[in-house]
């Protein structure tokens, strides 16, 4: 199963037979005070810097979320897309909780975007899937619904099935759906990691779609979070994760993902790892 995302000039293929695709998570003001303040003022320079840093670190897709309180998110999204176009041609993942922002973003975007996100809630299915269909985009689908975020595996699979079914009715194929089975903190529930990994493997085996995950949730409340996130990501890739939404500028994360490619036979002569290593630790002359 291959999911293809495009900008006007670049194409990214996500698939189980492909190297892991890192979707850069840093363009998101939640919990990032400086970026939030810059966006509130309509200053796009920090957003551009975040984009460049992530692309340099190996992000192949950039998630773009500009939801700050008290600002016109639709207008900000359009400004952000224009600003990003000035500095990079990597395909984008248009991320908002508001359908009207997704709609405006998709309207302005050149290429085939990824939409973040739909989930099993009735309102979301009704509002977001038609947008995805109309723009022939791809979509991230979270396995939660009106009843909340499930902690068990069967409910996650059932929600994934439901979304896939609703999408099919609108002509959205499996290849354009990327499931996010939602990893929760292992600090609050020590079975949460196993549940997420089991869900990933189940979705891969039963539905076969590409999968993403926001890995940083898993380590909330524990020390040495990078180590936890990295270990979880490596295990998740083995289970069927293909395009994590993560921070490629964190060496421990990037290193883990490049190495998973090597261990799954997708890094010829280990060249990607060696290149990444040299970039991280440049030789001194």
């Amino acid at each position: 199963m291959q999911t293809i995302i495009r900008s006007a000039s670049r194409e990214v293929i996500i698939g189980h037979d492909q190297p892991v695709v890192m979707i850069g998570e840093r363009i998101n003001p939640t919990g990032r005070k400086k970026l939030a303040a810059a966006l509130e003022k309509g200053d796009m320079s920090l957003l551009q810097a975040e984009a460049l840093a992530q692309v340099e670190a190996g992000a192949q897709v950039l998630d773009v979320n500009v939801g700050v309180s008290g600002a016109d998110e639709k207008d900000l999204m359009l400004q952000a897309l224009a600003a990003l176009k000035e500095v990079t041609d990597v395909p984008l993942c248009i991320d908002s909780a508001k359908p009207e922002v997704l709609a405006a973003g998709l309207e302005a975007y050149e290429g085939k975007a990824l939409v973040n996100s739909v989930n099993g809630e009735e309102a979301k299915l009704k509002e977001v899937l038609p947008l995805v269909a109309a723009h022939k985009a791809a979509v991230v689908a979270l396995t939660m619904d009106d009843k909340g975020i499930p902690t068990d595996v069967p409910t996650r699979l059932a929600i994934a099935d439901k979304i896939v079914g609703e999408a099919a009715k609108l002509g959205i194929g499996l290849e354009d759906i990327i499931i996010d089975p939602l990893a929760m903190s292992v600090a609050a529930d020590d079975q949460a990691g196993l549940a997420a990994l089991t869900a990933i493997a189940g979705i891969r085996d039963k539905i076969g779609v590409n999968q993403t995950i926001g890995a940083s949730n898993v380590s909330f409340g524990l020390p040495d979070r990078k180590a936890i996130n990295g270990t979880f990501l490596a295990m998740a890739v083995m289970a069927g994760l293909t395009c994590p939404i993560t921070d490629p500028t964190v060496w421990e994360i990037k290193r883990t993902l490049v190495l998973t490619d090597l261990f799954t036979g997708k890094d010829e002569f280990a060249m990607n790892y060696i290149t990444a290593y040299r970039e991280q630790f440049p030789e001194e002359d």
Binding site: T30, G67, S69, G70, I149, S185, A187, A188, F220, G221
Partner: protein
């Protein structure tokens, strides 16, 4: 005489298996249940909170300590009821996640820590509309209402909920405290008019105690 400090130590270290026996022995030896709670268990949780804040311990350890305390309380409660008394309650808190948001982990940690600090806590769940916050706060006689919001899209709901409380008959009687990843102190207090903001479960206990004049 039973070693009451062992009770404190058990809560402190989250030794859930030990606590039932320790509390039972203490009660059998004639220890005052109210003293056990107030001077040993709540004290232990204060230390746990301080060590969490200092990043000496982590979320699972804090949860284990709080659960150990709850297990100990389960032993004490029947005795209090038999005496016709109740656990002393320092205050009543109604807490929920705002409308449109289903996140519960952080909020549930706050519930655990408030209960372990002697509060009566009513967790009214997630995706709670503003009017439900008002109704429940009135019905349950809340001193404080706690709002949790993890999504930036929750901002209007935080604002609407604070406004609903401040415009109701509860105004001036019920304090409102906001928390969660999406909520900054500035937004909670200045923009929405909440009485306080908390960054985590330990800070929530401190903030609420301060607003109620308890510390």
């Amino acid at each position: 005489m039973a070693d009451l400090n062992a009770i404190k130590e058990a809560v402190n270290k989250g030794k859930r298996k030990d606590i039932t026996g320790l509390v039972q022995t203490a009660l059998d030896d004639g220890a005052d249940p109210q003293v056990l709670i107030n001077e040993y268990m709540i004290d232990a949780m204060k230390e746990v909170g301080a060590r969490f804040e200092a990043k000496k311990i982590f979320v699972p350890e804090m949860m284990m300590a709080a659960r150990t305390m709850q297990t100990g309380l389960d032993v004490i409660k029947p005795l209090l009821e038999a005496q016709g008394s109740q656990k002393e309650v320092v205050g009543t808190v109604v807490i929920g996640t705002v409308f449109g948001d289903l996140h519960d982990i952080g909020k549930n940690l706050v519930v655990l820590m408030l209960e372990s600090s002697g509060f009566a806590v009513h967790n009214i769940g997630e995706n709670v509309p503003p009017e439900t916050f008002v109704e429940k706060a009135r019905e349950l006689g809340a001193d404080v209402v706690g709002l949790s919001s993890l999504l930036t899209t929750g901002d209007p709901h935080v604002k609407a909920t604070v406004a609903a409380i401040k415009e109701s008959d509860l105004a001036g009687k019920v304090k409102v405290v906001c928390g969660g990843a999406a909520v900054t102190p500035k937004f909670a207090v200045e923009t929405c008019g909440a009485d306080g903001h908390a960054t985590d479960a330990v800070d929530a206990v401190k903030t609420i105690q301060k607003l109620m004049g308890l510390n």
